[in-house]
């Protein structure tokens, strides 16, 4: 009988519908800081930045098509809400027009901050400050000819390397889900912020 009770308690504790969405992790503790570091890395992978840089744009689109969760969607100023299928289709089209990527071009996340952890540590919400960068031309101006129309702007400034122009800045909410032990992007939503310079 005792054996049955133990099994019953374990079963009830493991059923997702009966547990709360809360988690025991607290902002600033070791587990929180470690998860933040893990998700910062997942964020770089999502954006094909740093160690995940891919010189061919389509390679990044292909990675995202596998990496994003099936329910993934994104919300951005000017483009509204797009499902995973719509995002992949749009980015594939963009990759055909602008196939090459200079290292550091595109979305560059900074100040990644884990904001909330739910579902017993299997769902996480974070924000970052994303700088969108494009390459400069030989005249030291942003190379709008080789970048998507979404990046065209009157206001820009050179980044710390002097080789790329920062053309847009947003606060990006980055939402992740852990499935089969792997953290994957579940949602991205961005709100424009005033230029830093």
């Amino acid at each position: 009988m005792n054996k049955f009770r133990i099994v019953l308690v374990i079963a009830l504790m493991s059923m997702p519908s009966l547990v709360s969405a809360q988690t025991t992790m607290k902002k600033g503790d070791k587990a929180w800081t470690e998860l933040e570091a893990t998700l910062r890395e997942a964020n770089l992978k999502w954006l094909c930045q740093g160690n995940y840089y891919k010189p061919h744009r389509q390679d990044c689109v292909d990675l995202r098509a596998k990496y994003w969760d099936d329910q993934f969607f994104e919300m951005n100023p000017g483009s509204g809400t797009q499902t995973k299928a719509q995002m992949v289709a749009g980015q594939t089209k963009g990759a055909a027009t602008y196939p090459d990527v200079v290292r550091g071009e595109g979305p560059n996340p900074t100040e990644f901050t884990l904001m909330a952890v739910w579902n017993n540590g299997n769902f996480a919400m974070a924000v970052d400050h994303t700088l969108f960068k494009i390459r400069m031309n030989s005249a030291g101006q942003p190379d709008f000819e080789h970048s998507s129309p979404g990046y065209h702007t009157d206001h820009w400034y050179p980044d710390e390397s002097g080789k790329l122009a920062v053309v847009r800045e947003v606060t990006y909410a980055r939402v992740f889900v852990k499935k089969n032990g792997e953290w994957r992007p579940a949602v991205g939503a961005s709100s424009p912020r005033p230029p830093s310079k």
Binding site: Q22, M75, F123, P192
Partner: protein, 169 residues
Amino acid sequence: MRYACGLVLLALLSGSAASYADDMKMGDKNWTALEKTLEDVNNQWLCSGKYYKPKAQDCVDFRASYWPDQFFEVGQTGKTQTREQMVAGQTANAAKKPDVVRGTGPNPQDFKLMSVYGNIALATDHTVFKTADANGNVTVSGEAEVLRMFEKENGRWRPAGAVLIPSKK
């Protein structure tokens, strides 16, 4: 006894396997029912429609009790605020403008459930912000596409966060 233990373990395994699948698909009966529940939660959160409160502070107080500790919001200018900061800012605003004309403030439309992950649900809406002029006439002051995040605790859905993206319909 072995049979009973086996059944419980089977329930355990099927529970964890179901995990995020939730037996719910966009457009099916369960999905539509949850979408309706969350739309109502959204109206409560915003003190909109039948949840209108004539005193601004009453809505702030309600939110302070409704939002979980981890709640956060990204505003239309990209500013991220915690629950504590939101409550403080809204309390200061309520002191300056204590009375609320019915229909002013955030008015959510086109609420759509986008994804469900166990006790977390993600939705979108188009929110129209309205203000009243000196004569009490209500006009549109802004619009945003909004990511609305919800969490379920003790059987109750609550707002978990929001991201506001300025937009015009």
